[in-house]
Amino acid sequence: MTTIYAAPSFSLRFYPIWRRNFLVWKKLMAASIIGNIAEPLITLIAFGYGLGSILKEINGIPYIHYLASGSICMSVMMASSFEALYSAYSRMSVQRTWDALMNAPLALDDIVLAELLWSATKSLFSGTAILGVMFALGIGLHPQVVLVLPLLFLAGMTFAALGLIMNALARGYDFFTYYFTLILTPMIFVSGVYYPVAQLPSWLQAIAQLLPLHAVVSLVRPLVLGGWPQTPLQDLAILAFYCCAGFYAALIFTRRRF
């Protein structure tokens, strides 16, 4: 079957599908925004002041600043992955929204693209809320912080692409627990969210360099702290690779499923 491996077909037909998901989000917006603000606020205050009172600073940076600039990346990854796994799976397999879409003049490629962009959008909402909390705590008040938003969107797309591969392979919600506990959680611990990667054994550092979350953190953290990323091209290339390869793989597996 050659059509399964065909190149992705991009078109603006994704928009009404994206808009549908946005409308549903809008209906439940209040609860969603409260969660988006409360969760990082509690985490930052609890960890920042609890752990931060013992561990004053890392490489000359106040710990709460260090933590905030890493955990915004982690939160975007989690928000995007959650949407691409649990929510997309509900629309695909439980509510059968995808089946309804395919009876309209839409193709599977349109749906997968819409889910990718929607997951990234939703994770950006979450990232923006966290940024607001950080500003309120006096963190990240630098002009270059505006660059963080497009980077978070790219991060959202990347993790959505990887999540949609899992979505296409899943036979039920239980499958996603493996992805979260065996892939995403370990990645958080080796990507410099809570402590510098330099603390890790050198072989693990070498692996960490290739991980998408590590790339996001090394792009976003310096911008939040008022500096500039050290290896922006390398980090962007890593993210672009995971995003594009992940999307193509997600398409292949989804086409095979249908």
């Binding site: 599908i17 549908r20 409308l23 509510q95 309804a100 395919m102 009876n103 309209a104 003049p105 839409l106």
Partner: protein, 321 residues
């Protein structure tokens, strides 16, 4: 070159809104590979209701999926509204409405939001849809429920909304996959009445069902398929007349079988046993009736042969699945 005169069949293929020719589809790999659709051909005339009848697993839903371009056939050709399927399925679906077997309405939206959002998938402007929504709600008898959420609707209301949703793009052809399965008699009658009014407006309907009364009532023509093969095609009454005796006596009660063995088989053209009941098929029931009036311990029902008799004759009485 010999010039071929356009015969009836060629004409049919040209004017057909949907034509399917020599379709084959198998699923699975290696030794597990099973044929689902086997050399299936049929064509729908504009304005007719065409039924696909078959036991569970006969290939009805697969046929619909193939016609919509949602699955790729192993071989054969499909033309839907003049478009080659599956290559141009997306374009062809602009003019098609689908009522799927399982409801897949959007639970997060109200009744009218479901219509509005679905119309956007066809690229229809909101203003156009908003102007059409009252008429669609009226048709589905859901005007009073326009702001209700999907969870508040009964099964029959959900089916009617699904039907209204299939009409947002004013389609020429509507695919209906078991539209009345799971509905109570009132709800079924209402759906039938709506389908008839669509036919009266010149729409074409492709209907799958395993309710014989539904097919007999609605279909101008129908195909009986089993194991992915067509085993009969035609108008319901013509098919009954062609394949089956005109009258049926259903005989049951404690002595039914004994009577059938001793007397029934001498008078009926054909006998079939199903559980406690003996089905006697005949073109002249008089001698059977006379014989039945002389025995004790049997009860019977005398009726004209119907589509169900035909269906059971063609596909057998064994359980499927």
């Amino acid at each position: 070159m010999k010039k071929q005169r356009p015969g009836a069949k060629d004409n049919m293929a040209e004017t057909a809104i949907l034509s399917v020719s020599k379709l084959h589809k198998a699923y699975g790999r290696g030794a597990d590979r099973t044929s689902i659709i086997n050399d299936l051909s049929f064509a729908l005339r504009r304005g007719e209701c065409y039924g696909l009848l078959g036991p569970n697993g006969a290939g009805k839903t697969t046929t619909l999926r193939l016609c919509l371009g949602l699955a790729t056939p192993d071989s054969g050709t499909i033309l839907l509204g003049g478009q080659v399927i599956p290559d141009h399925a997306r374009v062809a679906r602009m003019r098609v409405g689908v009522v799927p077997q399982a409801d897949n309405l959007d639970p997060d939206f109200t009744v009218q939001e479901n219509l509005l959002v679905f119309a956007r998938y066809f690229g229809i402007a909101d203003a156009v849809t908003r102007a059409r929504i009252p008429e669609l709600l009226e048709f589905a008898n859901l005007t009073a429920k326009k702001d209700a959420r999907i969870a508040e609707l009964s099964g029959g209301m959900k089916r009617r909304l699904t039907l209204a949703r299939a009409l947002v793009n004013d389609p020429d052809l509507i695919f209906m996959d078991e539209p009345t399965t799971g509905l109570d008699p009132q709800a079924r009658h209402m759906i039938w009445e709506r389908l008839k009014s669509l036919l009266a407006r010149g729409k074409t309907i492709l209907l799958t069902t395993h309710f014989m009364d539904e097919a007999e009532r609605l279909c101008n023509r129908l195909a009986v398929i089993d194991h992915g093969k067509m085993i009969a095609e035609g108008a319901p009454q013509a098919l009954i007349a062609q394949h089956i005796e005109a009258e049926v006596l259903e005989v049951y009660g404690e002595n039914a079988k004994a009577w059938a063995e001793q007397h029934g088989k001498n008078h009926a053209a054909r006998l079939e046993y199903s559980g406690e009941t003996v089905f006697c098929y005949t073109n002249d029931a008089q001698s059977l009736l006379t014989s039945l009036q002389q025995v004790q311990g049997v009860r019977y029902q005398h009726r004209p042969a119907n589509l169900e008799d035909l269906f059971l004759k063609l596909t057998g009485r064994e359980m499927r699945d």
